[in-house]
């Protein structure tokens, strides 16, 4: 029994040591940096950001319980801020979604000021709407939608960066992910687009008619000119020639359905010779 007690104690001690060992060791990834907090105060940084030095992760040791590891991203982090309503210089309301990146360059300062990355994201979301309003209130709505937004995006990025640097963070590359109209403006836009299309449909129809008319009259003029050029050489003979071809078209088509009945007097020029009994006039 005594031996067993010793054995059990030993086991408990072993387990305790194991537990301590595990809580004294942390794995930090290449893409992470860590601030070791000793009794709530930042003590040291592991794999902290340095320009042009790739992150090297590994196993680190720290005091169990007394030291806490705060993990932060070491890479660029893409962040989004959605549903920011701004009023442009020309009093148009737009619903923005922003896209940007930040990088934690001073992890100790971030941990001191905010505590961690979740708080950082909250902080960015908090300060963005006012900054965005301040910048976009200076440009017109149609400029706002263009890349660069009339310089507003750069200014916004600079402002945001200045604020973020006090938190140990750099912000870069802020751009528009979305510049949405408000629902009322959407309806207005739809209505305007519709009106434009209706008007365009009407004018297309008119224009088509007019052009067709022009084409036809131009052809008529040209046809008259062609005929005129020939007929002008002998208008009197042309009159005769045209009459003949007209009779031909009107009466002499063998394919026509309704035959006319011609009532001819022998005085008719065609039958004139019939009256000439025995020839000679």
């Amino acid at each position: 029994m005594r031996a067993s007690l010793a054995k059990r104690t030993l086991l408990l001690v072993c387990a305790g040591i194991g537990l301590l060992a595990i809580s004294a060791v942390s794995v930090i990834g290449d893409r992470e940096q860590a601030v070791i907090m000793r009794l709530g105060q930042p003590d040291r940084v592991v794999n902290g950001f340095a320009a042009n030095r790739p992150g090297i992760g590994g196993v680190i040791a720290h005091l169990p319980f007394a030291e806490r590891v705060v993990r932060l991203d070491r890479t660029l982090v893409s962040f989004k801020a959605e549903n920011i309503t701004v009023r442009s210089a020309d009093q148009q309301r737009r619903n923005l979604a922003l896209l940007g990146t930040y990088r934690i360059t001073d992890p100790v300062r971030l941990v001191r000021t905010l505590g961690g990355e979740a708080q950082l994201n909250r902080e960015l979301a908090n300060i963005l709407p006012a900054l965005a309003q301040a910048e976009f209130g200076r440009v017109d709505a149609d400029q706002l939608a263009l890349p660069g937004g009339g310089g507003a995006w750069h200014r916004l990025a600079a402002q945001l960066d200045a604020r973020a640097r006090t938190l140990g963070v750099q912000v870069s590359d802020v751009r528009a992910l979305q510049v949405a109209l408000t629902e009322a403006d959407r309806q207005t836009t739809f209505a305007r687009m519709q009106e434009e299309r209706e008007a365009a449909a009407l004018s297309a129809a008119d224009e088509g008619m007019q052009q067709a008319l022009q084409i036809r009259s131009a052809a008529e003029v040209e046809a008259a000119r062609i005929i005129g050029a020939s007929a002008g050489r002998d208008p009197e003979f042309y009159d005769f020639y045209r009459a003949m071809s007209s009779y031909e078209t009107m009466f002499a088509d063998p394919g026509k359905r309704d035959r006319a009945t011609l009532i001819l007097s022998p005085d008719n020029a065609y039958l004139r010779q019939m009256n000439n009994r025995g020839g000679g006039r």
Binding site: A3, S4, K7, I28, G29, D30, R31, G55, G57, V59, T75, L76, V77, S78, K80, L99, T101, D142, A145, L146, D173, A176, L177, V179, R186, T189, M193, Q194, R197, A201, L202, A204, A205, G208, Q211, A212, L213, I215, R216, A218, A219, E220, E222, I226, S230, F237, Y241, E248, F251, A252, D253, T261, L262, L264, S265, D267, A269, Y270, N275, R277
Partner: protein, 336 residues
Amino acid sequence: MNKDHGPWDSADSAPAAEDAGRAPANPWLVSQSDPAMRRPIAARSGTPRIRGGIMRRLQVRWPWLAAAGIVATLLTASVRVIGEGQQGLVYTFGHHNRTLSAGIGLALPWPLASVQAYPVGTPQTLALPAAETEQLLPTRDGQLINASAEMRWTITDPAAFAAAVIPAETALRDLADAELRAAIAETPFDAAWDGTGRAAIANRMAVRLQAALNARRAGVRIDRIAITRADPPGVLAESFARLAKARAEARDHRTKAEEWSARTLNNARAEAQDFERIYLQYRAAPEITRRRMYYETMERVIANNDRVIIGGSAGAQVVLPDTKASPSAPAQPKAP
């Protein structure tokens, strides 16, 4: 804790053989009194008493079997299969120290090492927006267009891709989204809609996206971007259809007018030509040509019609058969 029945006690107080000691140490065996515990597993633990031989020998081996099982499990967990066209980044204790190529590779089991596989050199497709939904984007002239794009992209450097921006895939999608929006915002509605501006949109988008990715050293190449859709908003489909119809009709009118004028001009030319030809004959013999033309025409006219000739002073009267003349016609003989 009950010392008498504790597993460690039993092992100590039964020094005869390890297997014999293990048997009562087995919690299943202790719980014999509970019939519910007997069924499948209790049966196995109970067997040594009934059929000592084989099971006894098995029991000698079970720690070894367990050890072998653990080793096998670890080995299995160490084998990493990297798919075709992929590369696996091995993070041993959080540090990327090597890269597995496609096939079977070895890495320490989790949590000592983790492997992230990325398709490298194989184009991937990204649809914007992800689902087939209407995405209304403002154009330069303040209209809204329902646009979507498809992008093919390739990871050229998986380590850079993993280390540049997180979250890598989401960041890429968001960037592409932003660039699509920006390129549409610079294009007038009609250019995007009728297709004349689509290549420019895709091109601008690709160039800018690539520049942004390069600035982030993202290890990604944009292969191709295509604007897969640039349509009017669904609610306006009808008025756009009406406009298209009006345009088609206008085009139709023009085509018809052109056909008509071509015909008219042809006829005029043919007539002028014919007239010229006859006029030559006429110039040679005016009266003869005139007479001949007259008689020839009359021949054809009369041949193709019914005719009634009513005699005048000469009394010559010819009525040809199948006359359909109205009754009034012959009743009015022409006065000579």
